[in-house]
């Protein structure tokens, strides 16, 4: 099963549909003999060794106590150990200061000033359209009644993004210029982006306590990878000829960097800024768990009250901020044309809009006027109540079907199988799908989970992720195929997917909780809403990328629509499909972990409890690491046969 060749390229022409020539059939049989034997072997071993070498969960594991002791040591020495006195506490202090400054600055601008400034920046970046979007977006946040919280969120995001760029851009330039640095940085970035955001929290709490400073640092860590990656890419792409010309004119290395490389790379780097901001905003709800002010607080509180309307509104506010920042930075990344006059108009407009806003600040009320705010919470909740009251039987049925039909049996198998068998099966599967390196890494990750004394919880998490991924990929595939075949369907689907992709994932827990009450299925539903758009989009793009001539040829050879889909389009879109599966699974893991907040249990619960309960700290910390291992494992398994790195377009976790 190990060396079975994996088909890397689809046949350029579809085989004539029904008759399969004899030798081809034989080859196909041989190809499937290995995996089939493997499956039989795993099943037989499971039957023989069921219930042995299982690793039941033990809250008292020595590792957890050791981690608790480490925490106690840090707590006791926070104000005396030199590492804390001279390094860690200063970082905390500096970051807190930065946040205070940014927040103070934004508050001092007042709401008219901030809207004016946003419009001015929009004008500067992309003309009146963007100015309008920026003004409308920020005003919209005020209309929703979340002005103050939004300013806090904005301040936190901007502080974190500033720090990410301060660290990320130089690192990116370095990585872009040195292949060795790139080799070291790339796997680290891979892990950082696969890591469920929850697992950051325990170590950060330990070092920096709660508060805006730790929240800024957590956000920074999450937001930095795109900045590094894209900067490195941009610097790499600067044409060699240009650099040579500069050097032959006698420019020093620094001059070449500052005057040639960076200006040429600037537009791409702006895209990196754009991605960094998107990543930072996705952390907003999570950092509310460690006492960061802002919109996340309202989201979390609404979650605790099971109040769908109250969670949706701050969710929309986050989306509005995201849209404004996205459009402004995106248009700033576009190459600007025009001479001196155009530039004068740009800066003039910026000055006028900003000045107008700031001039209005003292004139208008300091708080966003209440009569402009609209109340939308109640109507939303009325709808939810109605659905809750009327669909009860249906939702309960769905919940029980998935729980008893899929989750429980799979969980039983995974937790009753010997750990070595699960590991071996993963090794073999990953080896076959993605090659030996991926197989070894995946197996090592599982051994790591066992070593952390979290095997049982790890398997429970894996169960939910597998079932959720299965449903996500199936639904995403169906939607993607439908969208690729019908332009009408695609046009209708697009805005829905766009909206689902920009909402902070926490908002999805709410409707899911309201409909299905608390439990694993709720987490699955939430991850479905979260990951399906990305899967559907990748599938659609992949199918559309199949050349029309190929499809034409298949049609003229007499293939039916169904045959064209299964024999031509899907095989040719293989890479996109693999990428879709990879992204779907990684995103599902992120969401299932957050599902711990609504009773999905397992590793995610350990992390939440570790933050909230002193004696569970060690377990929570270890669970965070285990989640990273699971993430790496799932990612490696689905990376695909050609060793291609997935681009990780992961957004708003």
């Amino acid at each position: 099963m190990v060396s079975a060749p994996v088909r890397t390229a689809p046949p350029p022409m579809p085989p004539p549909a029904p008759p399969v020539p004899g030798p081809a059939r034989a080859r196909r049989l041989v190809r499937w003999a290995g995996p089939a034997a493997g499956v039989v072997a795993v099943v037989a071993l499971y039957a023989a060794f069921r219930g042995t070498a299982v690793l039941p969960h033990d809250d008292d594991a020595a590792l957890f106590h050791w981690l608790n002791d480490a925490r106690d040591w840090v707590d006791a020495n926070r104000n005396s150990s030199p590492i804390f006195l001279y390094v860690v506490n200063y970082i905390r202090l500096g970051v807190a200061e930065l946040y205070t400054l940014v927040q103070g600055g934004l508050v001092a601008l007042g709401w008219p000033g901030l809207i004016g400034l946003a419009a001015g920046l929009g004008w500067l970046a992309g003309g009146w359209r963007i100015a309008l979007v920026a003004a409308a977006g920020f005003a919209g946040v005020g209309v929703l009644g979340f002005w103050e919280a939004s300013v806090d969120t904005l301040a936190l995001t901007l502080s974190a993004v500033t720090l990410s760029l301060l660290i990320g851009i130089p690192l990116g330039i370095w990585a872009g210029r040195s292949a060795r640095v790139r080799r070291i940085v790339t796997p680290v970035l891979d892990v950082m982006q696969i890591m469920p955001t929850f697992s950051y929290l325990s170590p950060i709490l330990l070092l920096f306590l709660i508060g805006p400073a730790s929240a800024t640092i957590a956000t920074m860590i999450y937001a930095m990878p795109p900045a590094i990656r894209i900067t490195a890419l941009a610097v790499q792409r600067v044409p060699g000829v240009t650099v040579e010309a500069s050097e032959s004119l006698g420019a020093t290395g620094l001059q070449t960097l500052l005057k040639v490389r960076l200006p040429l790379a600037l537009n791409t780097i702006m895209l990196g800024v754009n991605q960094t901001i998107a990543a930072a905003l996705s952390m907003v709800p999570l950092v509310a768990l460690i006492a960061a002010p802002g919109l996340g607080v309202d989201l979390i509180r609404a979650l605790a009250r099971v109040n769908v309307g109250a969670a949706l509104v701050p969710g929309v506010a986050i989306v509005l901020i995201a849209i404004v920042l996205d459009r402004v930075t995106r248009s700033a990344a576009r190459r600007r044309e025009g001479g001196r006059r155009a530039r004068a108009v740009r800066w003039g407009g910026f000055a006028v809009l900003t000045a107008a806003g700031i001039a209005l600040t003292p004139a208008l009320a300091t708080e966003f006027p209440e009569q402009w705010q609209v109340q939308v919470v109640r109507p939303i909740n009325d709808v939810v109540d109605w659905i809750e009251g009327h669909w009860y039987v249906f939702t309960g049925f769905l919940n029980d079907t998935v729980a008893y039909g899929l989750l429980n049996p799979l969980q039983d198998v995974l937790t009753s199988a010997p750990w070595w068998l699960v590991t071996a099966a993963v090794l073999a599967f990953a080896w076959r799908v993605s090659g030996p390196a991926a197989g070894l890494v995946a197996a090592a990750c599982l051994v790591g989970v066992a070593a952390l004394h979290l095997w049982e919880h790890g398997m429970e998490t894996l169960t939910i992720v597998l079932v959720a991924s299965l449903i996500t990929i199936a639904v995403g595939l169906a939607l993607g195929v439908a969208a690729a075949r019908s332009r009408w369907f695609a046009a209708g689907l697009r805005p829905v997917l766009d909206a689902a992709q920009t909402m902070p994932s926490f908002s999805y827990l709410l409707p899911a909780v309201a409909l299905f009450s608390n439990g694993r299925f709720t987490a699955i539903v939430a991850s479905l809403i979260y990951a399906v758009p990305v899967v559907a989009r990748l599938v659609e793009d992949g199918l559309r990328a199949v050349p029309a001539t190929v499809i034409e040829a298949a049609r003229s050879a007499g293939s039916t629509d169904r045959q064209v889909l299964w024999k031509v389009q899907l095989p040719m879109a293989r890479n996109s499909l693999l990428l879709a599966a990879n992204q779907g699974i990684v995103m599902t893991l992120a969401m299932v972990v957050i599902g711990a907040l609504v009773g999905a249990g397992a590793l995610g619960y350990d992390v939440v409890a570790g933050i909230a309960q002193q004696e569970d700290y060690g377990k929570g910390f270890a669970a965070g690491v285990a989640l990273v291992l699971l993430g790496v494992m799932l990612d490696r398994i689905t990376q695909g046969a050609n060793g291609r790195r997935s681009p990780h377009k992961k957004r708003n976790a």
Partner: protein
């Protein structure tokens, strides 16, 4: 804006580079967004008080009334910091929290933060009596009269099975951050149950309502004071009687929860410099009924925390005037 960020960054770096005596965690509390400037006699406002908001509505009711009085009677600015119970204590060390207004026991944290670290102090009882326990809907107690004795719970475990409880009976717990010994209790009392976390107070309440309306079996962790007891009848399960010290080792607990005298904890700094706001916190005392009426308005009558507090304050002038600092 870019410039502003740049300046901010430079200043932050400068600060870090200039000072050289080493930084303690409390040092930064002055840099936090709204410093607790209670001590300084600022012109417009008396200062800012940071009240932790723990995730249950009874707590929010206390905080709402106190915040209302601080803002409208004493001229303070109140900042509500949404946090779980134990992180709130850490907040008193880091400078993010001044007041925890309803503390449930937490002897270990008292030892750590009050006695050892000396960053927090007790500010007296809230007057509320706290009860934690396991409850079933009243119809179950009528149908199965002996169910209220924990010894009989195993007999009924099948009733409480759900898709989430892995073949055992389900004991529904609330927010993972709540005070609970339930996992240890289930283990040490040898009960055939699994603790499942609903995730929040609201989820528990929803479950209790459904269990009563639809006659669905339910065994859940719950607590008083809680407005729900005025709407839904729940019956407490009798666990082995609590005695002083029987719950000192959290892993070996095999007895009921103690009766709680809910109290107030404030940061040392707030106690020293909090002025009138601290006096108000210290004097604050009311009954379970008071708390429930405010909590009920907040949850069921669609009032904001501020409106509910206002209503109570207007109706109970004599009570709160007694708390006012002289």
């Amino acid at each position: 804006m870019k410039k502003l960020r740049l300046i901010a960054g430079v200043i932050a770096l400068g600060l870090a580079a200039n000072a050289c005596g080493g930084a303690k965690v409390e040092d930064d509390s002055n840099a936090a967004p709204s410093a607790s400037a209670a001590g300084s006699a600022a012109a417009s406002a008396a200062g800012t008080v940071k009240i932790a908001i723990n995730p249950w509505v009874g707590y929010e009711a206390d905080a709402a009334v106190l915040a209302y009085l601080m803002e409208h009677e004493l001229g303070y600015k109140v900042e509500k910091v949404t946090l779980a119970e134990e992180p709130s204590w850490q907040g008193m060390e880091s400078g993010d929290v001044d007041v925890v207004i309803e503390n449930w026991g937490h002897e270990d944290l008292k030892k750590k933060y009050i006695e050892e670290k000396k960053v927090a102090v007790e500010a007296g009882s809230t007057g509320n009596k706290g009860v934690i326990g396991w409850y079933v809907p009243e119809w179950m107690a009528q149908k199965y009269p002996d169910i209220t004795d924990y010894k009989n719970l195993n007999k009924y475990a099948d009733l409480f099975k759900t898709s989430e409880s892995g073949g055992k009976g389900q004991l529904l717990d609330g927010d993972p951050s709540y005070v609970t010994n339930d996992e240890a209790l289930v283990k040490n009392l040898k009960l055939d149950y699994k603790v499942v976390y609903a995730g929040s107070e609201a989820a528990l309440i929803k479950a209790a309502k459904q269990a009563t309306d639809q006659k669905k079996p339910l065994l859940m962790y719950f607590y008083e004071p809680q407005w729900l007891f005025n709407q839904v009848k729940l019956v407490k399960i009798n666990l082995p009687v609590w005695e002083e010290g029987c719950d000192s080792d959290p892993k070996k607990v095999a007895c009921d929860y103690p009766p709680y005298d809910l109290d107030k904890i404030v940061s040392k700094k707030f106690a020293d410099t909090g002025g009138k706001a601290f006096d108000l916190v210290k004097n604050f005392q009311w009954t379970n009924d008071d708390q429930n009426s405010v909590a009920d308005d907040m949850t069921n009558n669609g009032m904001s925390a501020e409106d509910a507090a206002k209503k109570w304050v207007e109706a109970n002038a004599a009570k709160w005037q007694a708390w006012m600092p002289k």
